[in-house]
C-alpha cells in the first residue's frame, strides 16, 4: 500500500457536535506533506470550522487543482466527495459542479502556483461570475512539489533558498478578488488559527464568491531569512484589520461592546459576523474603501489580514442564470425531454 492507514480509534472524551459527529469525523487521510507545513494547519482549521458549523460532511464537495495545497483535500473531510483536478483549472471544475447541484457547499482549495500563474484566468472568471463557493489559496510564494521555484505571489526582492532574488512584481490575489467583485474577501495566516477558523466558517456560510488568501509558509523551500513568506516575516508584518467572531443563525448575541468598536454584519443565511475593529477607520462593507485601505497598508510593507470585505446580500451565478431551485442533476426525464408533440411542432416549422 502506498497510503498510510489511519487507525479508527477515537478518544473517548471527544465532544460530539450538534449532529453527533466528533472532530474525527471531519478528518481525512494522513497528510503526506512535510512536517510543519502551513497547509496542514489550514486543513485543521477547515476541519474545526466544519465541526463547529455542524456541517453534514456529505453536503460539502471539495475540489482542488495540482500542487501541495491541492493534495490537502484528501487530508480533511473524508466523508465528502473530493476532486483533485488539473493544474490551475479547479475554478472551472467547481463552477460546473456547482451548476449541477446548487444545494451542496463547494470548497475550492488551491495554491499560489495553481491560482496566480497557470490558473489566474480561471481564478478571475470564477470570481467575476459569482460562483457560490469558498475559494482558499494556500499561499507560500513558492512551487513546493517541484522544489522551490518562485511563484507569481513572490514579492520583488524576496530571496529564494538558493539565493536567487525575485525581480518580478507579485500578484496580489486579494486586490484582484476585490476588483473582480468577490463578495467575501479575507486574508489570514496558517499560524493564526484563532483568526482563520472564524473566517473559514463565515466564508462557508457566505452566499457568493468567497475568497480567502492564507499565507502558509513552506517549511522546506521558503522559510528562510530573505523570504517574505516565512513564519517569522509574516508574524512581524501581520497587520490584522479586525478579529471576527462567527455567530451561527439564530444564536443569541450576548456580549456588549462600545459603539464603534464592533460591527455586526448579518449574512444571507442569518449568520452574524461580529467584527471587532483593530484598525478604527476600516470599513469592511465598502469595497472601494477596502481597496484603498489595503493598498495604503501594503505600501507600508504590512501584510493586511482579517475580513477585508463582505457583501452580505450578494447574488450568485444561479441567481444570474435564473436557474430552478431543484438541482439540475435531479431533474427527471420528463422535466428534461420536451416530448414528441413538441418535436412534431418543431418539424413543422422547418418545412
Amino acid at each position: 500500500m502506498t497510503y498510510i492507514t489511519k487507525p479508527r480509534l477515537h478518544h473517548p472524551l471527544l465532544q460530539p457536535n450538534g449532529l453527533g459527529f466528533t472532530r474525527r469525523d471531519y478528518e481525512g487521510k494522513v497528510s503526506t506533506l512535510c512536517a510543519g507545513c502551513g497547509h496542514d494547519s489550514i486543513s485543521a482549521a477547515i476541519i474545526q470550522a466544519a465541526y463547529e458549523l455542524d456541517l453534514p460532511p456529505h453536503r460539502l464537495a471539495k475540489l482542488s487543482g495540482i500542487g501541495c495545497s491541492s493534495k490537502t483535500p484528501d487530508y480533511f473531510l473524508g466523508n465528502s466527495h473530493g476532486f483533485n483536478s488539473v493544474h490551475g483549472r479547479m475554478p472551472s471544475v467547481l463552477t460546473g459542479a456547482n451548476l449541477a447541484n446548487r444545494d451542496l457547499i463547494y470548497l475550492g482549495v488551491s495554491g499560489d502556483g495553481d491560482s496566480a500563474s497557470i490558473g489566474l484566468g480561471q481564478f478571475a472568471h470564477s470570481i467575476r461570475r459569482g460562483v457560490n463557493m469558498t475559494y482558499i489559496v494556500e499561499n507560500n510564494g513558492v512551487y513546493g512539489l517541484t522544489k522551490g521555484q518562485f511563484s507569481a505571489t513572490s514579492d520583488p526582492g524576496s530571496k529564494s533558498k538558493r539565493g536567487v532574488v525575485n525581480h518580478d512584481q507579485s500578484i496580489d490575489l486579494v486586490g484582484l478578488a476585490l476588483q473582480l467583485g468577490a463578495s467575501f474577501v479575507a486574508r489570514s495566516f496558517s499560524g493564526d488559527k484563532d483568526q482563520l477558523v472564524p473566517l473559514v466558517k463565515a466564508a462557508l456560510a457566505h452566499k457568493g464568491a468567497a475568497f480567502i488568501d492564507v499565507l502558509s509558509p513552506c517549511v522546506q523551500f521558503n522559510n528562510h531569512v530573505g523570504s517574505t513568506k516565512s513564519f517569522d516575516y509574516v508574524r512581524e508584518h501581520n497587520a490584522a484589520m479586525n478579529r471576527l467572531d462567527f455567530i451561527e443563525p439564530r444564536a443569541e448575541i450576548t456580549a456588549n461592546y462600545a459603539p464603534g468598536e464592533v460591527e455586526l454584519v448579518v449574512q444571507h443565511d442569518g449568520s452574524v459576523l461580529r467584527l471587532r475593529k483593530l484598525s478604527p477607520d476600516y470599513e469592511p462593507t465598502d469595497r472601494i474603501s477596502a481597496m484603498g485601505h489595503l493598498q495604503l497598508h501594503q505600501a507600508r510593507g504590512e501584510i493586511v489580514t482579517g475580513l477585508l470585505y463582505v457583501d452580505p446580500e450578494a447574488a450568485d451565478l444561479h441567481d444570474h442564470l435564473h436557474t430552478v431551485h431543484k438541482p439540475l442533476n435531479q431533474l427527471t426525464d420528463q422535466e428534461l425531454a420536451p416530448g414528441s408533440a413538441a418535436l412534431d411542432a418543431i418539424n413543422d416549422s422547418l418545412r
Binding site: M1, T2, Y3, P56, P57, H58, R59, A61, P73, D74, G78, N79, S80, H81, G82, F83, N84, S85, V86, R89, P91, S92, V93, L94, T95, G96, A97, N98, L99, A100, N101, L104, G121, Q122, A124, H125, R129, L317, H318, L321, H322, T323, V324, H325, L328, N329, L331, D333, E335, L336, A337, P338, G339, S340, A342, L343, I346, N347, L350, R351
Partner: protein, 611 residues
C-alpha cells in the same frame, strides 16, 4: 447548345460578404423546397464580416441527390472580384446571370455559355433612394428575375416573404414590390424563360430543412443536457446559440419562469471543458461545442475525463486548420485529434452523423453513452453539416424512451450495504459504479484523481494497480463497440471485391457517386461508418473485400489510419480518396477517383443534366 433540365441543376450565387445576399439566397433555396423539389444549399463564406467574396451553391435535384455534384449550370455573378473564376466555372451550355448596368468588354465573357444581363443597379437606383435599400433590394430583385427565368411560382415566393416579415408589415410590401420589379424586368427583357426549369413536385415529402448545429443542439435538449459551457468559435458557435434558443422555448418552467438549464459562455475552451467535467462529475448532463483549435486546448481535460471516468460530451464542428481563413471552410480533419485526444494512453468514442437528422439522434444518444461509459463522447460534425441547411427526414422521439444514466449507486444501495469501489469492475464490462456528491452521510464518498488509485479509489502508485486499471479501461472500450451505432451497408448491384468506407457529410455525394458507378457497371459495396471504436461489422466488411476505398475530407487519411491501427488492417488494402480543399467533396470527384483506380483511366465526363 444551351443546357436544358427540369428540377435537376446547380445554381451558384457569387456575392460580396455583408451585402445582405444571404437572406435573399436563402429565400431562393426555400422557394424550391416549397415547390416540392429537394434542394441542398451550401454557403461558402470567408472569415470576414464585410467585403470578401462569398458563394451560395444550390443543388436542385428531384431525385434527391443532395451532395455537391461539381460544376455550375446557372451562375448568378454579383461579385466583380471573383468574376473571372465564376465565369470559368460554368458548364459549357450553362447560363451566366449578371448585373449589366456597367458595360463589360466581350473578353470578360465566354462564347459557349448563355449570357443573361439585367441592369439590376439601374433598376434599383430608379426605384430606391436610400443606399442601404438599394443594396438590399438588389438581391431581392435578382431573386424575382430568377423566379421568372427558371419558373418559380410567384405565389410561393410571395408566401415566403409574408412568413419572413410577418411581424413587420411595411417590409412585406417593399419586398413584394422588389420581387415584382425583378420579375417584370426579366419578362420584358428576355420574353421567355431559360432551359433550366422548375416544376412542382411531391418529392420533398415530409422532410425538414435544417442546419446540423441546430439539430445537434435540439438533440442535446432531448438527451437531457442541462449544462452547456462554450467559447465562441466558427463553425460551432451557432450550436451553443441554438441550444440557448431551444432551451428558452422548451426548458423554462412555465409556473416560475425559471430555467431548467445553465449556459455559461466561458473565458476559453479550457474553462468550457472544465465546467463540463465538473458538472458531469456531479451528475448533470453537460456538453461543450467547439472546433479543432478548441479540441487542441481541451486535451488535458479530455484525458482527465478518460482516466477519472467522468461523462462529458463534445460537439466538434470540424473546419480547416488554425488561425483565420480556412476556418470558415469544411473538413473532416479532427478524427485522429479527437480519437486519441490527450496525454498518456487514451482513446475516446466518436460519433459521425451523416446529416442533421442524425445530428439530432446522436446529439441525444451521446449523453446516454457518456453516462453509460463514463467518458468523453465526441460528436463529429463539420461545417458543411453544421452551418448549412440540409433536407433530411424529420426528427423523431419515442416518448417511452428513458435516459440511460448508467451505473450510479444510489443512497438505498449504499444504505443496504452494497460494496462500493469507484474503479471496481463488478460486471466484467469494464464499467465501475460511481456515486454522486452528497448521496449518503457516511458511505460512497471518494476522492477523484486522474490515476494513482486502486479499485476503491485509495491512493496508490503501485505499477500492478496502474496496469490493472488501464486494462479495465480497455475492457470498457471493448464494451463501447457494442454501444456505438452500427455501420450501414449499401451493397452494389452485383457481387464485387471492391468496397468503400465513408462517413459524415461525405454521405450524399458518396451515394450519388455509387449510383453513377453502378450505372457505369463499376460495382462497389458501400459502408457508412457511424462511430468509433469500430464495430465488428466494419472489420468484417474490410475482410470481405480485396480493396476498400476510404473516402474522407482531410489530407492524411485519418479514418484510414484509425482503421489500420485499431483493426490491424494491411495498409495496402485501404485506398485513400481525399478531398480536402475546404469545399464539400463532390460526387464527380469521388467517382473520378474511384474510376481512375479501378480502370486505370479517367472516366468520361458524366452527363451534366438529366435527359
Amino acid at each position: 447548345m444551351s443546357l436544358t433540365a427540369v428540377n435537376d441543376f446547380v445554381v451558384k450565387f457569387a456575392n460580396v460578404n455583408g451585402s445582405g445576399s444571404a437572406s435573399a439566397n436563402g429565400m431562393f433555396a426555400k422557394s424550391i423546397l416549397r415547390m416540392g423539389v429537394p434542394v441542398a444549399a451550401r454557403n461558402i463564406f470567408p472569415s470576414n464580416i464585410q467585403g470578401l467574396p462569398t458563394w451560395y451553391e444550390v443543388r436542385i435535384s428531384e431525385a434527391g441527390r443532395l451532395g455537391r455534384r461539381g460544376g455550375v449550370d446557372l451562375m448568378v455573378a454579383m461579385n466583380p472580384q471573383t468574376w473571372d473564376q465564376d465565369v470559368a466555372s460554368i458548364e459549357p451550355g450553362g447560363y451566366l446571370f449578371y448585373d449589366s448596368t456597367k458595360p463589360l468588354p466581350p473578353s470578360k465573357f465566354r462564347t459557349d455559355i448563355e449570357i443573361i444581363g439585367l441592369p439590376l443597379t439601374a433598376i434599383c437606383n430608379a426605384a430606391y433612394t436610400d443606399p442601404r435599400q438599394r443594396q438590399l433590394f438588389k438581391n431581392i430583385i435578382y431573386v424575382g428575375a430568377l423566379a421568372y427565368l427558371i419558373g418559380i411560382e410567384t405565389e410561393v415566393l410571395d408566401t415566403l416573404v409574408r412568413e419572413e416579415f410577418g411581424s413587420k408589415p411595411k417590409l412585406i410590401g417593399s419586398n413584394l414590390h422588389a420581387l415584382g420589379l425583378g420579375r417584370d424586368a426579366a419578362a420584358q427583357t428576355f420574353g421567355a424563360p431559360i432551359g433550366l426549369q422548375m416544376r412542382r413536385s411531391e418529392a420533398v415529402g415530409d422532410r425538414i430543412y435544417v442546419e446540423g448545429n441546430t439539430a445537434a443542439a435540439l438533440g442535446a435538449v432531448y438527451g437531457g443536457a442541462t449544462v452547456c459551457a462554450w467559447y465562441p468559435i466558427t463553425p460551432s458557435t451557432s450550436l451553443a446559440e441554438a441550444f440557448t434558443e431551444h432551451c428558452q422555448k422548451l426548458r423554462i418552467d412555465p409556473a416560475t419562469g425559471e430555467a431548467k438549464f445553465a449556459i455559461v459562455q466561458a473565458e476559453d475552451e479550457i474553462a468550457s471543458i472544465g465546467i463540463v467535467v465538473g458538472a458531469g462529475w456531479n451528475g448533470a448532463r453537460a456538453f461543450t461545442c467547439t472546433s479543432g483549435p478548441g479540441i487542441s486546448l481541451m486535451q488535458e481535460f479530455v484525458g482527465l475525463s478518460y482516466f477519472a471516468e467522468i461523462p462529458a460530451v463534445i460537439f466538434d464542428v470540424q473546419r480547416g486548420g488554425p488561425s483565420t481563413g480556412m476556418p470558415t471552410r469544411t473538413q473532416q480533419s479532427d478524427i485522429l485529434l479527437a480519437a486519441y485526444a490527450s496525454h498518456g494512453d487514451t482513446k475516446h468514442p466518436l460519433l459521425f452523423p451523416e446529416d442533421p437528422a442524425e445530428c439530432f439522434d446522436f446529439g441525444a444518444l451521446a449523453f446516454d453513452l457518456a453516462d453509460r461509459l463514463q467518458t468523453t463522447i465526441f460528436v463529429m460534425l463539420d461545417l458543411d453539416i453544421g452551418m448549412n441547411e440540409w433536407l433530411c427526414r424529420p426528427f423523431k422521439w419515442d416518448d417511452a424512451r428513458k435516459l440511460d444514466h448508467g451505473k450510479v449507486m444510489t443512497y438505498d444501495e449504499l444504505e443496504a450495504g452494497r460494496d462500493f469501489g469507484r474503479y471496481l469492475d463488478v460486471d466484467g464490462d469494464g464499467i465501475a459504479y460511481r456515486t454522486l456528491p452528497g448521496v449518503h452521510p457516511d458511505r460512497g464518498a471518494y476522492f477523484t484523481r486522474g490515476t494513482s488509485r486502486d479499485p476503491y479509489a485509495r491512493y496508490s502508485e503501485e505499477g500492478s494497480v496502474y496496469v490493472g486499471n488501464m486494462e479495465r479501461l480497455l475492457r470498457k472500450f471493448e464494451t463501447a463497440k457494442s454501444l456505438i451505432p452500427a455501420p450501414i451497408a449499401r451493397p452494389a448491384k452485383r457481387r464485387t471485391p471492391h468496397g468503400v468506407i465513408y462517413f459524415g457529410s461525405t454521405t450524399p455525394a458518396m451515394h450519388e457517386s455509387l449510383e453513377l458507378l453502378d450505372a457505369d457497371n463499376v460495382h462497389v459495396d458501400g459502408l457508412r461508418v457511424r462511430g468509433f471504436p469500430f464495430n465488428d461489422e466494419v472489420m468484417d466488411f474490410i475482410a470481405a473485400h480485396e480493396t476498400v476505398f476510404v473516402v474522407e475530407q482531410n489530407r492524411d487519411a485519418q479514418l484510414r489510419t484509425l482503421l489500420m491501427v485499431e483493426g490491424g488492417v494491411d495498409p495496402a488494402k485501404l485506398i485513400p480518396v481525399l478531398g480536402y480543399d475546404g469545399s464539400p467533396i463532390t460526387a464527380r470527384f469521388i467517382t473520378d477517383e474511384i474510376s481512375k483506380r479501378l480502370r486505370g483511366l479517367t472516366r468520361a465526363p458524366t452527363p451534366l443534366v438529366a435527359e
